[in-house]
């Protein structure tokens, strides 16, 4: 097996909550990301799903080095990502690019598309010499399905789907190895969403990209991902292949999440099992003791409040199986539950 492109271990990001203006003091921490580990292989898509506030976007920001992690390590091609600075950091940023959710605010309205897509070359002139830039930009526009003749247009002259394509072209400009996609299609209408998802799929096979694909839409994530991680309140509660997560979910939260997603087929109405969670996600500033999901879990017992379940490969019934491969879940009572989706 080849070495993963990205190896993340025990990544933690806490944001301090402060009080007072002059004598500012920290009165607590929002535990946005609280001990997350995963590997990302070359050419693979890791889907990260979870509800608002689960820390998936903070995870993206820390990985992009837009936020400093509180603790934890991340190795990019074997080298510590967080220790890099100066030229090394610039080189890292060439290898890892990002596509953001909102195509309306992530493009500068006063720059032309040519400037936006060509801007990465200003910072990394070694990738494309100046005289070659315009041609490269037009090539990129063509790759993402935009008219290369539109190079002098401004973002407002494009629709939402087209703007997202501009964002993707910008991310591709430096031929990165990893692209972090933070909810790239959630602002788009379904017919346009499908176009952009197909584009992301094509680009991946063409350029051998690895994606970290963050989304709240479980259907979208299943469609694009090879492996999926489910997050809840800053922790990964279950990871596995797309098939393991969707067909054999083990963690009660994954099961409830899958059961809550409406399936576009009226024939399945009243035939699917419904698991309805009560209440809302607790505040990440004050997460519950033990298992963080226990306050909404229908299977919670005393043990769940006392002891935090680790993300480990488990047999039915939750017992940890140290020898098994691949499908870890963080529940004391993990149990396969194959009939949630259909």
């Amino acid at each position: 097996m080849t070495e993963p492109v990205l190896q993340v271990r025990d990544l933690v990001k806490h944001f301090p909550v402060t009080q007072g203006v002059v004598f500012k003091r920290t009165i607590g921490h929002v535990r946005a990301v609280d001990g997350v580990s995963f590997d990302l292989n070359k050419g693979e898509t890791l889907g990260v799903v979870g509800e608002s506030g689960c820390g998936k976007s903070t995870l993206a920001q820390v990985l992009m080095r837009l936020e400093q992690p509180t603790s934890g390590t991340a190795l990019f091609e074997g080298a510590d990502m967080f220790a890099k600075k100066g030229a090394e950091l610039r080189e890292l940023r060439r290898q890892m690019q990002v596509v953001l959710q909102d195509p309306y605010t992530s493009l500068n309205p006063r720059k032309t598309v040519g400037d936006i897509v060509g801007e990465p070359f200003e910072i990394h002139p070694e990738v494309a010499p100046k005289e070659d830039r315009q041609r490269r930009v037009q090539e990129l526009l063509d790759i993402v399905g935009l008219n290369p003749g539109h190079i002098r247009r401004y973002p407002h002259q494009f629709s939402g789907g087209q703007r997202q394509r501009i964002g993707i072209a910008r991310a591709l400009a430096l031929r990165p190895k990893v692209i972090v996609c933070d909810e790239p299609v959630s602002a788009l209408d379904v017919s346009i969403q499908a176009q952009v998802m197909n584009l992301l799929g094509e680009l991946q096979s063409e350029f051998g990209l690895s994606y970290i694909f963050i989304a709240h839409d479980l259907g979208v994530v299943r469609h694009l991902s090879d492996r999926v991680a489910v997050m809840y309140l800053g922790k990964m509660v279950e990871t596995g292949t797309e098939d393991q997560i969707y067909e054999h979910p083990q963690h009660p939260y994954t099961q409830a999440l899958l059961s809550s997603v409406p399936v576009p087929d009226p024939e399945l109405r009243d035939r699917r099992e419904t698991i309805r969670l009560s209440g809302d996600v607790p505040s990440p500033a004050n997460p519950p003791s033990g298992c963080r999901f226990r306050t909404r879990c229908w299977r919670a017992q005393d043990l769940c409040a006392e002891q935090q379940p680790e993300l480990e490969v488990r047999l039915d019934g939750g017992r940890i199986d140290p020898d098994a491969e691949g499908h870890p879940s963080a529940c004391h009572f993990a149990e396969q539950h194959p009939h949630v989706v259909k």
Binding site: V190, S191, A194, N198, R276
Partner: protein, 339 residues
């Protein structure tokens, strides 16, 4: 036109709302956008009608016109009729419309935080209706507000009425807005993307609640959404809108098993499904038309894979396909008779 579909419709007494050939324009100095170009649908008591469409299809404008809350200007109703229990709304006085709003028809919105007033407590905002419309005392009205919050399953309602909207979570705010809309016991509720801003687990709770309340009160529910999943779970009947027109109307089962319009078909094929994997998504190419410059013929023809010369020249009328189904496609009969 709504008289044709006897099967889908109920008796005249149960018919709550009839929208007939509604035309709305948005005028600005530079241009006139034809936002609604002849929209017709009806809702009966106790049924859920889903209005499905993408951004700009006119689904929300229709609802706003029905409720009489369309901003004029820029909006102008240029034709058609809206009848509530047979009574014409478009020519009714503002006073009469006001009487009906809340009392008979009510609406909830996508963004509950901006729909609620941030400087009054949730309880005050619900109680207000009982005080001014029912002439209750402050105390009685507040007691009713607690009752309403209790009905929408907000825990500890007695305490919660005293809180402000920002102290509520997203799902709770949506519940509070539902409580507010149902306070005067309307028989028609229009829900405009009620769960779009919510997480799936909360969305499921809210949809269950709406469905339960509709059943209990034998209410007509118009559910406006772009989410084909939500529609499949709750709708009895569905109208699909595109470019300010109805493209198709059918009961939920027929629409999903055999769409009668290429646009509906395209939508179905572009959703990534939870229960399937690996198929290439058949996206609809291109973009929806600009409402101030819609193409001649069928408004969908530039994006349609079946389009022929006829579609470019002649606008297909919304016609009856039998069994309560309507479609605005020249080839609808072919589409629904496929195996």
């Amino acid at each position: 036109m709504s008289t044709k579909d006897e099967k889908a419709g109920g008796s005249p007494e149960s018919r709550l709302l009839e929208v007939d050939d509604l035309h709305v324009e948005f005028r600005s100095r530079e241009e006139t956008a034809h936002v609604l170009n002849g929209v017709s649908y009806h809702v009966d008591a106790g049924e859920t009608l889903a209005v499905l469409g993408e951004s700009g299809s006119g689904k929300s404008v229709t609802a706003q016109t029905v409720m009489g809350i369309l901003d004029t200007p820029p909006g102008h109703v240029t034709g058609g009729s809206i009848r509530y229990r047979g009574e014409e709304m478009l020519s009714a006085t503002e006073q009469r419309r006001r009487e009906l709003r809340g009392e008979n028809t009510a609406m909830i919105f996508q963004d509950a935080l901006s729909a609620l007033n941030p400087v009054f407590t949730v309880g005050f905002q619900i109680a207000e209706q009982f005080r001014f419309r029912r002439g209750m005392s402050r105390k009685d009205a507040m007691a009713k507000a607690v009752e309403m919050l209790d009905m929408v399953q907000i825990p500890n309602a007695g305490q919660r009425v005293k809180e402000f909207p920002h102290q509520f979570s997203g799902g709770m705010r949506q519940r509070a807005m539902i409580a507010m809309s149902l306070a005067l016991d309307p028989d028609l509720l229009i829900a405009d993307e009620p769960t779009t801003a919510l997480d799936v687990t909360v969305q499921a709770q809210i949809m269950d609640l709406l469905d339960e309340l509709r059943r209990e009160r034998d209410m007509g529910l118009v559910l406006i959404t772009h989410d084909l999943g939500v529609v499949a779970e709750v709708a009895d009947r569905i109208v699909v809108m595109y470019a300010g027109r109805i493209m198709e109307q059918a009961d939920a089962h027929s629409l999903y098993s055999q769409p009668g319009h290429p646009y509906t078909e395209g939508l179905m094929e572009s959703i990534p499904r939870l229960d399937m994997k690996g198929h290439e998504l058949a996206s609809i190419k291109g973009l929806p038309p600009n409402p101030s410059d819609t193409p001649p013929g069928c408004p969908f023809h530039p994006r349609c894979h079946r389009a022929e010369d006829e579609c470019r020249e002649k606008r297909p009328e919304l016609h009856d396909l039998g069994a309560g189904r309507l479609s605005a496609c020249h080839f609808a009969e072919e589409l629904i008779s496929r195996d």
